[in-house]
Structure formats: structure tokens, C-alpha cells
């Protein structure tokens, strides 16, 4: 009787082992290689199915980008004395300078003309320090706020520390606030960066684009990465403007153009869009 029990026990154990090994053989090995390319077109289809519109002309061409660095210094406070046509207030906490014109500056004409007058105002060194280094950024501007970002030989910087905002009310320049990073240098030679389409794709696969939305604009700019050894390091980022079709809210998200990773905590909302 004991022998029979042992035999049954062996039978069951080895039967289980056979089943396990059979399953192991049946299961195919995992495919080591991912196949992103074959899914390129299907990603577009998937996005369409999710109600996400993407511009047709979005570039698939790789460009090059730099790691940039800037020395952390206060460039604005010492400029106050040369700003003879505005009264200034320097904020040490956020390293920004606010200027209010001493005399009334009226803006008139159509938008193009207004832009031209604002350009002249900011380019005048007695009004705005380093004004010539700033370029108009429509995606960050509103009806009464005209936003400019610091422009460099390498591209535009999208950061609150490199921004000029001119406030206008009733056709008159009220004041402006400027923050300035300083002269920018490349830390290393340029490297290949991902294409605009790759950045959009990365955002979609990371579920950073909600359903029923529209990718409005994809542009390349530099964003702050980290501070180290008294310098701020910047890296190229794709800025992707996405509009929610229902709420009409526009959000700008950033994708690291070297690694295709989303820069967390760097997105911001655009309340009013005006081109």
C-alpha cells in the first residue's frame, strides 16, 4: 500500500513537472528588439482614433542641439543707472527688474505697427537692458501682455529667468518686467537631437497628450536643466503646444530633445492665444 502511495506521489510530481516544462517550451522567447519604426504610421492612426490631431507637415528631420551653460550672476541690478527713461525696481529674490516709463508711451495702429513700436521701445538701451537680445514669442503673449524670450546664437531660451514681459493697457505701455540669464556658452560640441515628430510621438506614448486634443505647434528652444558648480545648464527641448478641443485650454509641454523624455513639472498653460 505504501509503495502504491509513493508511486502516485511520483506520478503526480512528475506530471506537474512535465506540464511546467511543456508550458516553458510552448512560451516563445521575448523579442528583444522593439519595433518602433513599423508602428510609425499606426501611431498616427492611433492618435487619430483617440481624437488627437497632429499637423501634417510636422518635421521628421533630425537637427543638432547643444548643452549650454550660463554663469549664475546678477546682470540686471547694475544696469539700473543706465535706464534713464524708466523708473526701475530690482527684485533680488527672483533676479528681475521692473521698469515703468517716465513718460507716457502710446501705441497706435494695427497689430503689426504696435509690434514695431514695442520693438523700438525694447531695443532702446535707456528703456530695457539687453533688450536687443529678446525676441517676441506669440505663444506666451496675450491681449495686453507681450512676451519676449532671450535669444542666443544657439536658439531661444524658454525660462522665466530669461524673459521680458511688456504690459500694455489702453494702448499705452504700463511697465515691463525682465529677467536675464546672461551670455550663453556651449558646454560641448553639438549633438544630434530627435525630430519634432519623434517628440510628439514620445509625448503620446507617455500619455502626456490627452484624448480629444490638438497639437498646435512644435518648436525648438532651450530649457533650464540644473544648476551645478555655479552655472546653469540648459538643454534643447521641443516645446509642444496642445489645445484641449473641449475646454480650448492650451498647454505647453517640453520634451528633452536629446533623450525624448518629458521634462516633468515644466509645462505651463497659455490662457490667451494670439498670433
Amino acid at each position: 500500500m505504501d509503495r502504491k502511495r509513493i508511486e502516485w506521489l511520483f506520478f503526480i510530481i512528475f506530471l506537474l513537472i512535465d506540464i511546467y516544462l511543456g508550458i516553458e517550451i510552448w512560451r516563445s522567447p521575448i523579442n528583444l528588439s522593439s519595433t518602433p519604426g513599423t508602428t510609425a504610421t499606426s501611431i498616427r492612426a492611433e492618435m487619430r482614433a483617440d481624437g488627437i490631431d497632429v499637423p501634417l507637415h510636422i518635421s521628421r528631420k533630425q537637427q543638432s542641439g547643444y548643452y549650454l551653460a550660463v554663469k549664475n550672476r546678477d546682470y540686471l541690478s547694475r544696469k539700473s543707472s543706465s535706464l534713464t527713461q524708466v523708473t526701475t525696481h530690482y527684485s533680488k529674490s527672483d533676479n528681475s527688474l521692473t521698469g515703468t516709463p517716465k513718460s507716457m508711451i502710446l501705441l497706435n495702429g494695427n497689430r503689426k505697427k504696435i509690434m514695431q513700436q514695442l520693438e523700438e521701445f525694447k531695443n532702446e538701451p535707456a528703456n530695457v537692458p539687453y533688450g536687443k537680445e529678446f525676441k517676441f514669442e506669440p505663444s506666451m503673449s496675450g491681449d495686453n501682455t507681450y512676451c519676449y524670450v532671450q535669444n542666443t546664437d544657439y536658439g531661444r531660451i524658454y525660462d522665466s529667468d530669461a524673459q521680458l514681459t511688456i504690459n500694455v493697457r489702453n494702448g499705452q505701455i504700463i511697465n515691463y518686467t525682465i529677467s536675464y540669464m546672461g551670455p550663453i556658452k556651449a558646454v560641448r560640441e553639438p549633438q544630434l537631437i530627435i525630430s519634432a515628430w519623434h517628440a510628439v510621438k514620445a509625448m503620446y506614448t507617455d500619455r502626456e497628450i490627452v484624448n480629444n486634443s490638438r497639437v498646435m505647434q512644435v518648436s525648438l528652444g532651450y530649457s533650464k536643466l540644473t544648476d551645478v558648480r555655479g552655472s546653469t545648464i540648459l538643454l534643447p527641448t521641443w516645446l509642444i503646444q496642445v489645445e484641449n478641443k473641449t475646454t480650448k485650454n492650451i498647454t505647453v509641454k517640453r520634451v528633452n530633445a536629446f533623450t525624448a523624455q518629458i521634462l516633468q513639472g515644466s509645462s505651463y498653460n497659455v490662457n490667451v492665444q494670439k498670433n
Partner: protein
């Protein structure tokens, strides 16, 4: 009644024996028959990958790493912090069509004349790559190898050069325009005087002046075991985990495993093995196949470049300002090895992530000729010296977490091994030379 009982016993015995034998058969089948797995996985994998590979190659791995040009009869290694010349070349090659490729010459004299053609901008790979890889099309049946690109003053053609065989190929082009590249090359700010010196199988760039080489710094990023386990083995199918002699091994289905050093150790070398029957691959196929594995690791590919092939192993290192970076003593970032029945990927789990502005630190290095003399004095045979290069060694900077310094120094490839000058100087060459003489002669 009694006989029934016996029949039942017999059936049970037969059944037990059957399941026992079956388990042994299945076990042997799993452990020995790679062909089974090969059969399941290979065809679909190859076809699925075929379309994607080319795009991924463009993603950095196989591009030239250095550029050279002449001014007033002197050859210089060109460098410009604002313009990455090899990258410019790759950009200008996009959209270019290849009309034809033909062998132009095979003589040493012609090859050396081409090397010293003052009208050409030269771009070089650290090791030969295949013509089909360069053209991204199967334009040559034999898929010849080359290491050097000669951009001439004409936009209609360029030359490819193979140092080892002294062969020059003329490539006729359509829609090429290298005006920008020539312009950038002529205005490149950094110019280090160099000369070409013939070593065992290539023309090596010798630095002719003792110079101050910059020490660069980087913030590093180290990925955890789980990151690589999920990328290489998947998230749900990892069935075994064992600890032996400071290593942790993650296994999947008997034929795939990842061996990593224990977290507390200071080591960063990871080893992935996948047992799979390999078919004979051409250089082009092997380079392409290798890309999939490198890409799958998920390491930063921004500075990663193809570096060398030794026997069945292809290595990739980070290139910073045209200089390769070695981990530990002389380890590349990634090495892929294709043997008859397995693919092995050895890699370092730490990435150079964020470059830190140059702080003025430099290191003085002697000329390449002086280094060569030191090696000869130490007992190394001149005929065994394969490469003499300047490379960076990664050194931890204790002033900041995750901060490393890249220290320049000479690295030498000899006897099919990469080692630093200091390491070679400690080597016992008498044994090494004797051992090497016993090996069958092979043009490596």
C-alpha cells in the same frame, strides 16, 4: 478481482515511468535545443526589424568620430565647439543619392597620396564599417569595408578608404553639397597638428606636439537593476533570481539572463546573455543586429559611437569632443558579442548625463611617438601595436555626488587588447610575445 488490481498497479507504474522519462526528455530538449527557440523567434524578428534598423543607425551609433584637414601643408585634427564636423557631414549626406561605387585603387602609394591630399577633408571611423551601412542600401554585393571618408573639392563624388588593404573606392553622388562642411572645416577653431603613422593594420593619427588636454566633467546617471531587467527580460516573466559571489542573476526561460553586481558593490558592469543559434552574418548584418541590442539597453545614445571589433565582439563607447571614454581601466560602455549559440551584451549601467562647464583643468600629454617609444622600451613588439589613441578615463570627483572627471591619457590596442599606457608598461611582454607567436597568423 486480484488480476484487476495488478493491472492497475502496472498502469500506475508505466504512467509514473512515462511521466518521469517525459520530464527528462523535455528538460534535455529545453537545455540543448536552441534551434527550437531560434525557429520560433528568428524569422519574424528579422523581417520586423529590417525596416527599422536603418533609421536607428542614423541615430548616432555609426557616424565618423573625427575629422582632419590640411593647412599650409600641415595635417590637423579639426575641432570646433560650435560645429560638430562629422555631424555636419551626416546631415549633408541625408538626401544624397549614390550613383555608383567602384574600386579606384589598391596600391599603398596611391593610398598614402590620398591621405595627404590637401584638398580633401577627411572623416574617420574608429574601425572599419561596411559600404552598405554607409549607403544604407545594398549597393555592393561583397559589402566592402572602409574606415576613412575623403570629401573632395567636387560635390559629384567622394572617396572611401580602407587602411588595412590600402583600397580606395570612388563613390559617385547625386544631389550632394559639401560646401558647408568644407567651409566649417576651413574655419575650425581647434586645430591640433597630427601626422599619419602606419601601424599594424591602419594609419594611426599621431599627435606631434606635447599638448595640454582638457579635463571635462560630467554628472552621471546610474540606472537600477530593475530598469534593465524590465527592458531586457520583461516585467512579468522573470522566474529565477539567485545570488552567487557578489552577483545577482535574473533569468528568463532558461535561455535569457542578466547578471548584475550586487547593489552594495562599487561595480557597474552588467552582463546580458541570450542563448540563441546564430546564423553567419556579414559585417553589415552584424553591425545592424548589434544596434538592436544596444538600443534596447536604454542607455543614453547621444554620444555613443561604434568603437571597435575584436573577434566576435563589437564595442561602443561615448565620444566626448571626438575622444573616446573608457570606464574602469579600459572598458567600453557596451560590448555585444555574437557567438555561434548566444548573444552577449556587456555594458556599464552608468551614463554620462549632463556636461559641466570646463573649469580650466588640463593634463599634459606627450607626443604619440614618445608613447610608442615607451612601449617599445617596455618590450612591446612594434608589429603588435594596433592603435595608439588619446582617450578619457572616468574618475570619480568627490566634491559632488554623481560627478565624474574625464582624465585624458594614452590608450593602446595591442595583442587585440585595449589597455592604458600605464597598464601596458606593467605588462610582461616576453610571455605575451611568445604566446602570440604560437597563434595562427591572422590579419586582425
Amino acid at each position: 478481482m486480484k488480476s484487476k488490481f495488478k493491472l492497475g498497479d502496472a498502469l500506475l507504474l508505466i504512467g509514473t515511468l512515462a511521466v518521469f522519462i517525459l520530464s527528462i526528455v523535455l528538460w534535455i530538449f529545453i537545455m540543448t535545443n536552441d534551434q527550437y527557440f531560434h525557429h520560433i523567434s528568428q524569422p519574424s524578428r528579422v523581417t520586423e526589424q529590417a525596416k527599422n534598423r536603418r533609421g536607428r543607425i542614423a541615430s548616432n551609433l555609426y557616424i565618423p568620430t573625427n575629422s582632419y584637414g590640411f593647412r599650409d601643408g600641415q595635417l590637423y585634427r579639426l575641432y570646433d565647439s560650435k560645429k560638430n564636423l562629422p555631424l555636419e557631414f551626416i546631415k549633408e549626406m541625408k538626401g544624397v543619392k549614390f550613383r555608383s561605387i567602384r574600386k579606384s585603387s589598391t596600391g599603398k602609394k596611391e593610398y598614402e597620396e590620398m591621405l595627404h591630399d590637401e584638398d580633401c577633408v577627411q572623416l574617420s571611423f574608429p574601425k572599419e564599417v561596411s559600404v552598405n551601412l554607409f549607403t544604407k542600401k545594398k549597393v555592393r554585393e561583397n559589402d566592402e569595408r572602409f574606415r576613412r571618408i575623403f570629401v573632395t573639392s567636387s560635390n559629384d563624388y567622394l572617396y572611401l578608404g580602407n587602411d588595412k588593404t590600402n583600397t580606395i573606392y570612388r563613390v559617385n553622388l547625386i544631389k550632394a553639397d559639401f560646401t558647408k562642411l568644407r567651409d566649417y572645416a576651413s574655419r575650425a577653431r581647434g586645430k591640433i597638428p597630427v601626422e599619419f603613422v602606419r601601424l599594424k593594420n591602419c594609419y594611426e593619427v599621431f599627435f606631434t606636439k606635447q599638448d595640454h588636454w582638457r579635463i571635462y566633467s560630467y554628472l552621471t546617471n546610474t540606472q537600477t537593476d530593475s530598469y534593465f531587467v524590465s527592458r531586457l527580460l520583461g516585467t512579468t516573466s522573470v522566474t529565477t533570481r539567485s545570488n552567487k559571489k557578489g552577483w545577482t542573476t535574473y533569468s528568463l526561460n532558461y535561455y535569457t539572463n542578466l547578471r548584475v553586481p550586487k547593489a552594495k558593490s562599487d561595480r557597474h558592469d552588467f552582463h546580458y546573455t541570450r542563448f540563441e543559434k546564430q546564423k553567419d552574418l556579414s559585417l553589415n548584418e552584424r553591425l545592424l543586429e548589434s544596434v538592436d541590442f544596444v538600443h534596447k539597453l536604454g542607455l543614453s545614445e547621444q554620444d555613443l559611437r561604434y568603437f571597435d571589433t575584436i573577434n566576435d565582439s563589437m564595442s561602443y563607447v561615448n565620444y566626448i569632443e571626438g575622444i573616446p571614454v573608457f570606464w574602469d581601466e579600459s572598458s567600453p560602455q557596451v560590448t555585444t558579442t555574437f557567438t555561434g549559440d548566444a548573444v552577449k551584451v556587456d555594458f556599464n549601467n552608468t551614463d554620462l548625463q549632463i556636461p559641466i562647464p570646463f573649469d580650466g583643468q588640463t593634463k599634459t600629454l606627450p607626443t604619440s611617438a614618445a608613447v610608442m617609444q615607451k612601449l617599445l622600451n617596455a618590450g612591446m613588439k612594434e608589429t603588435e601595436i594596433q592603435r595608439i589613441i588619446v582617450a578619457f578615463r572616468v574618475e570619480k570627483d568627490n566634491s559632488h555626488d554623481h560627478l565624474v572627471n574625464l582624465i585624458p591619457g594614452y590608450y593602446i590596442k595591442a595583442y587585440d587588447q585595449w589597455k592604458s599606457l600605464a597598464a601596458w608598461e606593467k605588462e610582461d611582454f616576453s610571455g605575451l610575445n611568445k604566446y602570440n607567436e604560437t597563434l595562427p597568423k591572422e590579419g586582425k
